[in-house]
Amino acid sequence: MHFESPWAFLLLLAIPAVVYFHYRIRRPALRVSSLMHAVQAGVSLRQRFMAAPLMLRVLALIFLTIALARPQQGRERVHDVSKGVAIEMVVDRSGSMGAEMDFGRQEMNRLEVVKRVFDEFVTGNGKSLRGRPDDLIGLVAFARYPETLCPLTLGHGALPQFLKNVEVAQRKEEDGTAIGDAIGLAAARLKTAEEELARQSKDKPKEYQIKSKIMILLTDGQHNAGKRDPMEAAALAAEWGIKIYTIGVGGDESESFMQTPLGRIPMGIAAPLDERTLKAIASKTGGVYRRADDAASLRDVYAEIDQLEKTEIEAVRYLDYREWFAPFALAALLCLAVEIVLQSTVLRRFP
C-alpha cells in the first residue's frame, strides 16, 4: 500500500483546529441565574457520551484525509517492454484433436489439454513455465482451412477468451489438416506485424521491437489439405527469419471422433502423426521437434521452448493500481452520518 498524494496528510494539522473551535465557538445557551445547583446535580449517562460526536467528526476527518491521500495497492506488475519475441501459436483443431488425453488424473480431449497448457505457457504456472509477459502472442487455428483467432498482441488478458473459441472441427467439410496453409498464414502474420512495428518505430524509436519471430506448430496428423505444401511454407518462413517449433501430439493409435447429437462416434484410426515432415520443418527453420503424449510431456515441451526463447526482463514497474480510497471515504461518511444522527436524536442539545 502506498499513498499517491501524501501531501494530503497535511490536512491532519487541521484537526487540532477543529477540536479547538468545537470548544471555542459559543453555542447558544440558556442564560440562567445560577449554575450552582446544575453543577452539583450530577452527570447522567448520556452526558458522558457528549464527546462522541466530536470524536466521530475527527475520525471522519482522518478517514477523509486518508481517502484524499489516495491509498493504492499495486495490482499488476507490468514489465517495461521494449523488446520481445513474436510468438504465433498454430493449433491443429482437426477432428482427431477430439481424442482423449491424460491431463493430470483426468481424461480430456487433446485440444482442451493443448489450450490449457498454452494458457499456462503465456501467463505462467508458477513452476516450470514462467509466462511470457513481454512477448507478442498470436493464435492461429487450423483444420482444413487456417484462421487467425487472435492477432499478435501484448494484451494477454484477452487470450483465454480467444482460446475458448477454439473448438474441434465438427463438420466433415471443414475437417482436415492443412499444415502448409497454416504455416503460411502464421508466417505472413508475423511478417506483417514486424513490418508494422518497424514502420511505427521509425516515428517513435522507443516503441516495441521484435527481437525474433517464432511459430509453435502443434498438430496430431498429416498434411492432407490446402494449397501449400508444408515444406514449401517452411522454406518461406525460413526465408523471413521465422523459427518453427513443431510439437507432435498423441500416439499413432489415435482415433478420431465425430460429435453428433447421438453422441461421439469413433471415426476409425486417423492418419498417423507425420513426424518426418514435422522434424524437417523444424530443422529447416532452426527450430526443434518434440513429441508430447500427455499433459506433462506437453508442458515439458513448452518449458523447453520457454528456455530456448528466453527474453531478459529489463525493468519491472507497477502500472496498474487498485485505488483504496473508497472504504475510507465510506468510513468517513458513516462516521459523519452517525455523528449527525446522534446529535439530532440522543445527544440533541437545547437550545
Binding site: 445557551a29 442564560r31 441565574s33 449554575l35 452526558q47
Partner: protein
Amino acid sequence: MIPKELAKKVRYIEIYTNKAVNDVLAGEYQSVFKGRGMEFDEVREYQPGDEVRTIDWNVTARMGRPFVKRYREERELTIMFLVDLSASGAFGSLKMTKNEVATELCALLAFSAIKNNDKTGLIIFTDTLEMYIPPKKGASHVLRVIRDLLAFTPRQTQTNINEGLDYLGRVTNKRSVVFLVSDFIGEGYEKSMRMLSKRHDLIAVSVSDPREYRLPNAGLMEWEDAETGQRVLIDTSSPAVRKRYEQLGHERAQKLKDLFASMGVDHIDIRTDRDHVKDVLLFFRRRERRL
C-alpha cells in the same frame, strides 16, 4: 427602554400598586411599620394601669405626685430599598424576570410609603454600588425612584451584597426600614447583614423563579451563568438529575430561611410565578401578629 414605554410602565405600576395599596393593603402598612424611634410627647399624672417603668422620677420628686412620661411613636419613617440588579435577576421562566418582579415589589412598597408620608430612598447594587437616591418625601420622588429602578441598566453583572449593605451603613445613621431585595445568589453577606439588622429594621426579600427549584424534562440543555458566563451541560431528562436539582433548590431555600430567622430578620419570599401582592400582604399580617 425608550422613555414612552418607560412612562407607560411607570404609569401601569402606579395604577396597579395604587389599587393594591388602597384595596388589599389598605391600612396594613401603617399598622406594621410603627416607628421604633420614640418622640417625647408629654408628661402626665400617673394613672393606675400605667407601666411603672415609664414613671419619670425627676418630675415625680418635684411635684410630689407620680408622673409618667409619654412618648409618641415617630410616624415618619425612612424606607430604604436595597435592590440587587445583578445579571442573575435577568432570568424568568414566566412573564416577568426576577428583576422586574423585584421592581414591582419595590414600587408597591414605595406607594404604600406615600400614604404614610415616609421618606423613600434607593440603593441599586451589583458587585459595586450602581446608584444611590437619598431618601426624600413625596409622591413625585417615589415616582422618580420607580422610574430609575425600571430604566436602570447595571454596569456590572456579578453580585456582592456587601457593597449595598456597607454603603447603606455609611450613608445613613438614622434608623430606617431597609428592604434588601435580592436573589441572594452570592456569598459572604451574612456578617454585614447581621450588623445592619442591629441598627435598622432589615427585611430580606428573596426573589426566585420556579425553575430554580424544579427542572422541566427538556433533554440536554446548555446553560450559561448570567453572571460569570460559565457554561454547563445538564441532562434535564435524567430523573436522577432532576431530583437532585429539586432537592438542592429546596435545601437552599430552607437554608436562606433559617439564616434570616437566626438573624432575626424578617423575610418575604417572592416568586415570579406568584402574585407578590399576596406575599406582601401575608408578610404584613405575620408582622402585625408579632408586634
